[in-house]
């Protein structure tokens, strides 16, 4: 629609609140984090310029390095295990087996439950004394395998990580929407060619929903990088920092009034996140040529 002079004022008035909030809570904080990461600051007295000292400090901190490593494991697990499982179930459910709507509702359920409630539920599962997992193991005669799941350095990380991987509803719904948008003629053509269900899925459906798949992989990687609640509640990074993540690390830095270190780790997270998004996109558009 062409814009008249009178309307121009209206547009400005309507955009202004959103723009102000966006500037204050997105643009300014990101710039501030990056800028302040070059300063020493305890949150009270004046900040002093520190150059790259904050970065040098966090990158020589074993806990930070382990946190980064854990975040990478987390992001990879989400994009390489969770998303493919979600894709498989999206392919199955979009063929509309009996009760598919009910199953979609169930799979999506964890998405509307708060991360903190889910983490508390799973801490009950892993509890060493009265936990559901140890109880189940005893029930089926595998009592030897019971252990303090979250207290054992060997199992702690895998336990905090794994339970969310099987909550596939979020990505499944995104990919199912992609499948619904596919033109019916593609399927008719493949039927004429005598393709079976699996062939159709691999050669027709998956290539046609690649945008949805890339979206899911990107989201999974980004969510993997910014995870916090699970670890904060279940292990608080322990045992011996085995399960620390970057956001938990920066939270602890902040609690210890080391705002410079916190900002440097935030900046690393933001930059890594941006790189991940860009490289997944690049990788994907390259395949397209």
């Amino acid at each position: 629609m062409k814009v008249s002079k009178k309307e121009r004022l209206g547009i400005v008035i309507f955009l202004l609140p959103a723009l102000i909030l966006f500037a204050v809570f997105f643009i300014y904080p990101i710039m501030n984090v990056v800028y302040m990461s070059f300063f020493n600051w305890n949150g009270i007295s004046d900040a002093t310029f520190a150059g790259f000292k904050n970065y040098i400090r966090i990158f020589s901190d074993k806990v930070f390095l382990r946190s980064i490593k854990n975040n990478i494991v987390w992001a990879l697990a989400a994009s390489c295990i969770q998303v493919p499982m979600a894709l498989l179930m999206a392919l199955i459910l979009s063929r509309k087996p009996k009760g598919w709507k009910l199953f979609r509702t169930i799979y999506f359920l964890p998405q509307v439950i708060s991360g903190i409630a889910l983490a508390m539920l799973w801490s009950a599962v892993y509890n060493s004394e009265f936990g559901m997992l140890n109880g189940l193991l005893k029930l089926v005669g595998l009592g030897n395998y019971t252990r303090n799941w979250l207290g054992d350095p060997k199992t702690a990380l895998i336990c905090v990580l794994i339970y969310g991987l099987f909550y596939i509803g979020y990505y499944m719904v995104i990919m199912m929407a992609g499948i619904t948008d596919i033109d019916e003629t593609y399927y008719e053509a493949s039927r004429v060619d005598g393709a079976n269900a699996i062939q159709t899925a691999i050669y027709i459906t998956v290539p046609l929903i690649r945008y949805s798949i890339v979206t899911c992989v990107t989201l999974a990687a980004v969510f993997g990088l910014r995870t916090f609640e699970q670890v904060y509640l279940l292990t608080n990074g322990g045992p011996a920092n085995r399960t620390s993540l970057v956001v938990l690390y920066l939270y602890n830095q902040m609690k210890n009034n080391n705002y410079g270190g916190a900002n440097a780790s935030s900046a690393v997270l933001i930059v890594v996140g941006a790189c991940v998004i860009v490289s997944i996109r690049k990788l994907f558009t390259k395949n397209e040529d």
Binding site: F22, V33, Y167, N263
Partner: protein
């Protein structure tokens, strides 16, 4: 040959249902266990985590309410989520109207910037958010959460609402324009009623997000009377080290509202999610 074909078909069907049921049981079983356990006595729970309660202990819920002041927390969560949602949807629909309906310089750039906001790792912005609210004196004040939640939900809400607005032809409004309807009248009387389901979608999504938010509620408030329900249940882990069943009752109380809203607005949640994500 024929036999082989039916054999593999049976195998496929069995495999399919094994998968479908596995994911369903995996999701549902812990939740059902939670509800059952919240109705047991502690002694029953310690004796066998899988037993059913001899007598349903509804008192656990009363206990949870009394001991942790859950009523106050629920009230806080409701007001924060409600204001956060109304602010968010109002501001997002105004901006979406300007972007969707009018051609002006930079509108696609503005929209692209907002969309990129969906991917920002918000948890990494703890320090600046804390400093901002500290500077304006809103630390330990629920107003900070209302404003922050409205702001961080803007990208996704704008995405959803703009999508709905774009799906209606501008011609409808042009007729209104000829009738002499101005900028504001067209927004309130034509566009908003048209995209009502888009507004509901965005609002549902936003409300659930607000209700479930933990990181910033934890960071920006500290007084016991300002705790939201998500902070509240976390403190159960310190308070009731032995009273597990009341803790489980509190978790059940905390997740019931989001499940309820989800079941009522299920269509909206699912369509909103896909609208926001597929194009992003």
């Amino acid at each position: 040959m024929e036999k082989e074909k039916t054999y593999s078909r049976v195998l496929l069907t069995v495999g399919k249902w094994v998968l479908i049921l596995f994911f369903a049981v995996y999701t549902i079983f812990p939740l059902i266990w939670l509800v059952i356990t919240s109705l047991k006595t502690n002694a029953e729970y310690f004796a066998n985590p899988f037993s059913l309660p001899a007598v349903p202990q509804w008192g656990n819920f009363a206990n949870a309410f009394r001991q942790a002041n859950l009523g106050q927390m629920i009230f806080n969560s409701v007001t924060v989520s409600f204001v956060g949602t109304v602010l968010n949807v109002t501001i997002a629909s105004m901006a979406a109207y300007a972007i969707s309906r009018f051609e002006f310089k930079g509108r696609e750039i503005i929209f692209a910037a907002f969309s990129a906001g969906i991917m920002v790792p918000l948890n990494a912005l703890m320090v600046p958010y804390f400093t901002i609210f500290n500077k304006i004196g809103l630390i330990d004040n629920l107003m900070s959460l209302r404003v922050l939640y409205a702001a961080i939900g803007l990208p996704i809400s704008m995405f959803i609402i703009r999508g709905f607005m774009d799906s209606f032809p501008v011609e409808i409004e042009e007729a209104a324009l000829l009738d002499g309807c101005g900028f504001y009248k067209r927004f309130f009387y034509f566009v908003l009623p048209l995209v009502k389901s888009g507004l509901i979608t965005a609002a549902t999504f936003q409300f659930i997000t607000c209700w479930n938010e933990f990181v910033y509620a934890n960071l920006l408030t500290s007084s016991p009377r300002l705790k939201t329900i998500q902070i509240g249940i976390r403190y159960f882990t310190n308070q009731f080290t032995t009273d597990y069943v009341s803790m489980y009752a509190a978790i059940v109380i905390a997740i019931i509202p989001s499940i309820l809203i989800y079941t009522i607005f299920q269509k909206q949640v699912i369509s909103g999610l896909t609208a926001g994500a597929v194009k992003g």
